[in-house]
């Protein structure tokens, strides 16, 4: 049988490679100076979906929420081999915490329609919360398996998967439909398909800046770019009070630069005498012994 899969993807700032330039003099992060990337574990999620497609056949839809330029992760998803992409974008969604994000995503998923599997990365590297997956599953009233590092078996009604635990792993059998979150250990994502990259390299969302003329985009010209389906809050029937900042119970009270503090600090002379002093002090204070 063929599966209907929705993959949740996110464009994130590359927090693992923060350079000095990305920090403002007051110690806060200058987001605009950071390059954006495809959230790493979302690539693992996408790879799992593509593996299912290779083995059993599937229609994969990649869904993201973000600003207009988040189309970039959808273009890349098309290069990897997904069948359809949806951009959820609206100023009303801005500054959403994980609850408001899962609200919008769950409505978009309902609009997409039937599905067997929703697959996302375990966590995004900008927030590291791992909350959006489970929160979305709850809003859809479906089951979940989080921290999946291996899908062992899939049949039309059931999945068997290994999930990492704090002391090893466990094998879970569950019924479909279900939401899975995938860890970085699950697989090594494949490279882009050259053919798909050529087909979709000009794919755009109409809310992105572009130079095409409207008439051409509406025409039947076979060379016109692929149009990325783009939905705003009205398209998914979202209530404004539950979107973005309005719909976010959590608020940032304050952001601080990390201040490195130390009580007493001394330089130990790099000599026999220096080490003797150090070790004696640690002995006398019962730090070692």
């Amino acid at each position: 049988m063929s599966y209907k899969i929705i993959v949740l993807v996110k464009q994130v700032p590359d927090t693992k490679n923060i350079t000095v330039d990305a920090m403002k003099p007051d110690g806060t992060v200058n987001r605009s100076a950071l390059p954006t990337i495809f959230n790493p574990e979302d690539l693992n999620a996408l790879e799992e979906a593509l593996k299912i497609k290779d083995k059993y056949g599937a229609k994969i839809t990649a869904l993201t929420m973000g600003p207009p330029n988040a189309s970039e992760v959808l273009r890349k998803s098309l290069f990897y081999g997904v069948d359809d992409v949806i951009l959820l974008s609206d100023r009303k969604f801005a500054a959403a915490d994980t609850l408001a994000t899962s609200y919008a995503l769950s409505l978009a998923i309902k609009k997409i329609g039937e599905f067997d599997l929703i697959i996302g990365g375990t966590q995004a590297i900008d927030g590291d919360t791992a909350q959006v997956g489970p929160q979305t599953a709850e809003k859809l009233h479906i089951n979940q398996i989080t921290f999946v590092d291996k899908i062992q078996k899939l049949s039309d009604r059931e999945i068997v998967a290994n999930r990492t635990t704090d002391y090893g792993y466990e094998t879970v059998k569950a019924k479909l439909p279900i939401l899975l979150t995938i860890t970085a250990e699950a697989n090594t994502p494949r490279p882009f398909s050259v053919k798909k990259t050529l087909t979709y390299k000009n794919a755009i969302s109409l809310i992105e800046k572009h130079d095409y003329d409207e008439e051409y985009l509406q025409s039947n010209n076979p060379n016109k770019p692929f149009i990325i389906t783009t939905w705003n809050h009205e398209d998914i029937g979202a209530e404004i009070e539950q979107c973005g900042l309005n719909g976010s119970p959590t608020q940032v009270k304050q952001i601080e630069n990390i201040v490195l503090e130390v009580g007493e600090s001394k330089e130990i002379d790099n000599s026999e005498d220096g080490f003797k002093l150090l070790i004696s002090e640690l002995f006398s204070e019962h730090i070692i012994g």
């Binding site: 994980t98 791992a130 130390v262 001394k266």
Partner: protein, 341 residues
């Protein structure tokens, strides 16, 4: 019933209470004292009574206990249902969860169902006031939970609040809070909860559980000798193992050292890894990336050994040794052995 209590979700791992739950009980007890309310614990399982004594001794005044065959192993839906039912019935003001794999599976589902805020991986929790300006008006909130966590890959510290929603919920990683001293005389009340789990919620079955022994137990170690990429090679890491062995400690590592293949990821300390607070932390060839510091800065004493005198690690070190580890480490071993006699 609005109990207004401060609660800890008690996680059972392999029939035992997870350490992180005991760590959180201590914190919950402190927060409850500040708020002059009771400290509660939620316990789900098949033999909950086995754990009552331990939970009371770690500071709980009241245990909300639910027993049901479907709660033998953790699965998302039955646990979400029962915890939500208890929260809705007794309305605590704060609920804390360990940021374990299962805690991170459960807490967001509960937050989503109850439509309340949840802050992941807090490193500190405090009670304080909050003022919010909106449309020219200032709204004041008293005694709310400050949920403090590293953000943006560990590069900044954010204080998060959820002033308008109850309960306020947070997860905390294992090892971040300290277990309070037990009080053998403490006891309290048990509230038996009728777990209401319908058939449609039993959709997952755990068919196999595999335990993999970690090659090191960093959380319980009182002395840690940790190496960074500056150690330079797997062979050089042997010297760290020797120093750790001499001092009666264990070996830790920075993410960079793990990525370089010097040692396996069980040893990784930091934001992505394990959080430790040993009596003595010896950082060897670790430059002091914020991601690493987030996992060890609460150590009682820190010795840093580095060839670069400007390495950021020296900013948090109690003892700074500028020098080559290949000379310094063997000398430390020798000095220790001499003075020990």
């Amino acid at each position: 019933m609005n109990s207004n209590e401060v609660w800890t979700y008690i996680e059972i791992q392999n029939g035992k209470i997870a350490d992180v739950s005991l760590e959180l009980l201590g914190k919950a007890q402190d927060l409850a004292k500040k708020l002059s309310v009771k400290c509660g614990a939620i316990l789900l399982g098949t033999n909950p009574q086995n754990h009552y004594k331990n939970i009371f001794e770690h500071g709980a005044d009241i245990i909300y206990s639910a027993e049901h065959f479907a709660l033998e192993n953790y699965t998302s839906l039955p646990f979400t249902k029962v915890v939500c039912d208890i929260i809705e019935e007794y309305q605590p003001q704060i609920v804390l969860y360990g940021a374990t794999v299962n805690g991170r599976d459960l807490a967001p589902r509960i937050a989503s169902k109850l439509k309340v805020g949840l802050t992941a991986d807090c490193t500190e929790l405090q009670i304080g006031d909050y003022e919010k300006k909106k449309k020219g008006e200032v709204k004041k909130y008293e005694n709310i939970l400050y949920q403090i966590r590293p953000a943006f890959g560990g590069n900044i510290i954010a204080t998060i609040v959820s002033p308008n929603h109850r309960p306020q919920m947070a997860t905390v990683r294992p090892g971040v809070m300290k277990i309070n001293k037990t009080d053998k005389t403490n006891s309290g009340k048990v509230v038996n909860i009728q777990a209401n789990i319908s058939e449609e919620l039993i959709l997952s079955e755990i068919i196999k559980t595999i335990q993999i022994e970690k090659s090191v137990n960093l959380n319980s170690a009182s002395i840690i000798v940790a190496g960074g990429v500056g150690v330079g090679s797997k062979d050089n890491f042997e010297k760290l193992h020797e120093l750790a062995k001499t001092l009666g400690g264990v070996v830790g590592a920075s993410r960079a050292a793990v990525d370089a293949g010097y040692i396996n990821s069980d040893h990784q300390i930091g934001q992505t890894g394990i959080t430790v607070q040993p009596k003595l932390y010896i950082a060897v060839g670790i430059s002091g990336q914020i991601q690493h510091i987030a996992g060890m800065s609460n150590s009682n004493r820190i010795i840093a050994i580095n060839t670069d005198k400007d390495a950021p690690i020296f900013q948090i070190a109690n003892y700074r040794i500028v020098g080559d580890l290949n000379k310094v480490v063997p000398q430390l071993i020798e000095t220790f052995k001499k003075l020990k006699k």
